[in-house]
């Protein structure tokens, strides 16, 4: 024997087909050595089995269950989100008027409305606008935006519009 037998590393490198420096030496040795040729065929049988695609471990249609679970979770999330927005709107919708009522002279004016006459009402409105005018511009904008937002979302909630009717409504504007 003028050359050592091939090592397991060499057999594996050879079959993996990775670029190896000694590839021609390996091939040369295989030509002359029956022992290594048998080892190589044993390795080839192992590789063949390792490369065979096994039966799927997944049931056919398993993805339907996944998709419906994802859908259900998304719906639950949406439900909670809706609940939270409604709660937020109720809080905003009730605190904003209260805030106005309890600030400044507006509460006094309310008394006038119930007790008195048209002048009382006129006073109330003057005070509301006076109140807003009294604020700086940015607060004024925020408060107005909040009022508009609350009113719009309340309208949207209260009126049973379907999707396309709502879209038609917004087209008008």
């Amino acid at each position: 024997m003028y050359l050592d037998h091939l090592t397991d590393e060499q057999f594996q490198l050879y079959l993996d087909g990775l670029p190896t420096e000694g590839i021609s030496d390996i091939e040369e040795h295989l030509k002359t050595c029956e022992e290594c040729r048998s080892q190589l065929s044993a390795y080839k049988l192992v590789y063949k089995e390792l490369n065979i695609e096994p039966e799927s471990a997944l049931l056919p249609g398993f993805e339907n269950a996944i998709i419906s679970r994802i859908r259900k979770k998304a719906e639950q999330k949406q439900f909670i989100r809706n609940l939270l927005t409604q709660a937020a709107m109720i809080i905003l919708g009730s605190t904003l008027p209260l805030y106005f009522l309890l600030t400044g002279k507006i509460s006094d004016d309310l008394n006038h409305i119930f007790v008195n006459n048209w002048f009382g009402t006129k006073h109330l409105w003057e005070n509301v606008f006076g109140f807003i005018r009294g604020m700086n511009v940015s607060t004024e904008l925020v408060v107005s935006a909040l009022i508009i937002l609350v009113v719009f979302s309340l309208i949207e909630r209260i009126l049973p519009f379907s999707g396309h009717r709502k879209a038609a409504l917004f087209k008008v504007f």
């Binding site: 080892q39 089995e49 799927s56 471990a57 996944i66 994802i70 859908r71």
Partner: protein
């Protein structure tokens, strides 16, 4: 392999909120997940449950995937971790592994002794080799390999991952992957040549 652009588009579509787009991703990667389940989990009910858990995890974490690795590697890692957590919970993993590992050390030594014997002229093969017998023999031997060996040979031979990618999926050093790959294939070859006469296998 899918190109990076089409993968990005796919992820965008899924994140846009259409669960049906997720079907496309499932179809692209179900083979990979199936391979990992096939080699790591033996019970069919557990496989069903875990396949759902894996894909739902993928869906829920898709937002955080920023192409720091290939999508396939990322999905492989989720599948690997889910299976291992599950096995740990069942307390099968460490226990079984330790035993298997020691068995392998012993088996390897025994095999060497057997091979030595086989070279003596008194040796006679205990069975005549035929293709389907050889095939089922090798597959049985694969099943009793340690779990890490099974995972490495699957990811390497069936999913064509590189050593580096397998090390990312399994969270072990590249050297460990290389040695698992080398040792598992050598073990399988040694068992085969111990069981069957080499000349017969040449046919």
């Amino acid at each position: 392999m899918e190109s990076l652009d089409s993968e990005k588009k796919l992820i965008e579509n899924i994140l846009a909120g259409n669960p049906d787009e997720f079907r496309v991703l499932i179809n692209q990667y179900k083979k990979l997940v199936s391979h990992i389940l096939f080699r790591l989990i033996s019970n069919q009910n557990d496989r069903d449950e875990l396949s759902q858990e894996i894909f739902i995890k993928i869906y829920e974490n898709l937002k955080s995937f920023k192409f720091q690795s290939k999508l396939s590697t990322w999905i492989g890692r989720i599948a690997h971790n889910t299976c291992l957590n599950y096995l740990r919970k069942k307390r099968l993993h460490f226990y079984d592994d330790q035993i298997n590992y020691q068995k392998d050390e012993n088996k390897e030594r025994n095999i060497r002794a057997d091979i030595h014997e086989a070279k003596s002229p008194s040796f006679l093969p205990d069975e005549v080799a035929n293709q389907s017998q050889v095939s089922s023999f090798i597959n049985n031997e694969i099943e009793v390999l340690p779990i890490q060996y099974r995972e490495v040979i699957t990811l390497y031979h069936l999913d064509n991952f590189s050593i580096k990618e397998i090390s990312e999926i399994m969270g072990v050093p590249e050297g460990t992957v290389k040695s698992h790959l080398y040792r598992s294939r050598k073990l399988l070859k040694d068992r085969l040549t111990t069981k069957y006469n080499l000349e017969e296998l040449c046919i």
